[in-house]
Symmetry: C2
Subunit: 358 residues, 2 copies
DNA sequence: CGAATTGCCGTAAACGTTTCCGATCGGCCG
DNA sequence: CGGCCGATCGGAAACGTTTACGGCAATTCG
């Protein structure tokens, strides 16, 4: 009865229905909708319009069944880790970035659930095979996850952001932790500080180790002494930062500046200073890492090394796409996978806790 | 040969392969793996073990194709909104809760991307039909989204958390904003405060309006006067809170306590107090709403009305499941959809900004 | 003891696509 | 004018499952 406004529910309009109504075969309809060359421009346009009028939506499961590819990638993000608040506010930005980058590349996103420990058959690899996922993006590294390890060891393309595992078809993207830490220390140095201490994260985590390395390199380059007591290990949480601050400020020669490998610990150090009636940044300058939301809310606001979530997400999908076999590429078994990690630059945000003028 | 440890890549082991190896038909294999009754316990166990040994993973696209259901629900979460930091830290907890609740109910999760405005065919409804999604969970309400409206008007079951739209197969779950606000005011009242002001969110948003209503109700019940100047509208962000605080504290009879409808605004109000050399909570008590991460990091720590993200997420999937047609239920067209919104209680967290003793 | 019931299983038809293999039809070149 | 070629299309076989239907034995019941 004439063209319908949109998405009429003539219920279940499929490719056969389109073929019937436009007097061609299903093969032609398929070709028309998929922009194949073997259709005349006229019929293609006719079918296109009809499909749009009837609100036709292609059945993706059927497509993946026959094409053997789903245009879908899986997302692994361990909520256990997230509950600990580790990279907490960070994740949301990553997720958002990954999602938009993937949709721009015409991929769909499926959220994978961490497999139950009691079900031996439930694994990430299983889920990938079940849904014909073409690749996986991993957002945080659980301490050591057997499921992740077996996935990384498989032939499933994986891109991990700040992950530790490695495998034949795996690429890691990460912020330039070392350079970020270096920039922070250098910033404090140009402010005139010479006694700069650091509060690290758990050193078995790669980002924590890299940030410490950057700190050391900067100090060495700038000719700053790093007494052993100036390096205190924390756990990324508030309290550990406060305790570390207490300890550092009680030293015989206390530091005049602290670089903390995480914002929460940096804020904890600021609390420690406040408890001693020290003024930040006058008596003690503080720089953190990550740029969590709270960094802009505390007083004084916290200078920090911001990670570029957008860039990280985009780099991850770009890296993953490099691992996928495109329509015309050689199969991935024959391609050399570049194992060099993708490094994303950070940005130093100078705020109140290290403002020169104050 | 013999039993393999796990997930051997005998490449593409499917139901036919299992049938061949175990000497039965594909029908029997399917029945065995799906726990149908018409299989003997012996063969079921045999097939089970074989499947496990070969690392068989059922092809979900094929299953959804023939069963006409995907066991998958879609998740809509507008990242545009998220970029504004509105409910920002909140979302991640919701997402996590929704995911685990859904996976416990054996549903898969697909992240939907906000449709491009220039493509008329791309809509949430289209995506739902393409992937055979059985329902949708909406995490935040974009101001007014045409795509969301057409989705809500369709026959697709929707559960929204803090959403404004409504439809025939739509249910909304939300925190008990009014009761939360009431509890906050009552808490301040028992602390001895009689001049309690409030900073609201944008009043066209349902949560903001409800929190204001709760504030008013509590004041009325407790016999507190609410002069017009005691109600200041903000925008949920830090600066608006600080400006509102400035204005409130400059009044002839300034309030001794402030209830802010959002934590960022509450922190802003604390900044305003600090700028006037007022001590929190001695000179001014402050209570916020949401319990964002920063609430526990600022000094003094911020009392706040915490939303129960876990409960919200679980309520949303519970509500959604009520809308879905289970295997034995009547089709949803004949069921009466209970339109009453699901209300989740909040919890008052008393911290430093309103501590009695301080 | 015959018939009906029950338990277990195989055959085959779907589900909605894509794609290989031809088929038809003009037109072009030799 | 005949064969060849490119463009355009249709027929039909897949893809991996589920499930209606029917068959065959063993068991039960009248």
């Amino acid at each position: 009865m004439g063209p319908c406004p949109l998405a009429q529910n003539g219920f279940d309009v499929n490719i056969r229905e389109l073929a019937r109504r436009s007097g061609v075969s299903t093969a032609t309809v398929s070709r028309a909708l998929n922009d194949r060359a073997e259709v005349s421009e006229a019929t293609r346009e006719r079918i296109r319009r009809l499909a749009s009028e009837l609100g036709y939506a292609p059945n993706e499961p059927a497509r993946t069944l026959v094409r053997r590819r789903s245009d879908t990638i899986g997302l692994i993000w361990d909520s256990g880790q997230e509950a600990q608040g580790l990279h907490n506010p960070f994740l949301l930005g990553l997720l958002s970035a990954v999602r938009t980058a993937l949709s721009e590349a015409d991929y769909h996103l499926m959220l994978l659930t961490t497999p139950a420990a009691d079900d031996p058959d439930a694994s990430y690899l299983q889920a990938v095979r079940r849904h014909n996922l073409e690749g996986v993006i991993v957002l945080t590294t659980p301490p050591d996850d057997r499921c992740l390890r077996v996935l990384a060891a498989s032939d499933v393309p994986c891109a991990g952001i700040d992950t530790a595992f490695t495998g034949p078809h795996t690429v890691r993207v990460s912020s330039d932790n070392a350079a970020g830490a270096e920039a922070a220390v250098e910033h404090l140095h140009t402010l005139g500080h010479r006694r700069i201490a650091t509060i690290t994260g758990p050193l078995h985590l790669p980002p924590a180790a890299e940030r410490l390395a950057g700190y050391r390199r900067a100090c060495e380059r700038l000719g700053l002494a790093v007494p052993e007591e100036y390096v205190v290990e924390g756990d990324f949480f508030l309290d550990s930062g406060q305790r570390a601050g207490d300890r550092l400020l009680a030293l015989g020669e206390p530091p005049t500046a602290i670089f903390a490998a995480g914002d929460q610990m940096a804020i904890g150090a600021m609390h420690a200073a406040a408890d001693l009636n020290l003024s930040v940044p006058r008596d003690l300058a503080v720089v953190g890492f990550d740029d969590i939301d709270a960094a802009a809310l505390v007083r004084p606001s916290l200078s920090t090394v911001a990670q570029d979530q957008r860039a990280l997400g985009e780099a991850a999908v770009a890296a993953l796409r490099g691992l996928l076999d495109g329509p015309d590429l050689t199969p991935r078994s024959e391609r050399t996978v570049s194992a060099t990690p993708r490094i994303v630059p950070t940005r130093l945000l100078v705020r109140g806790s290290s403002r020169p003028g104050a």
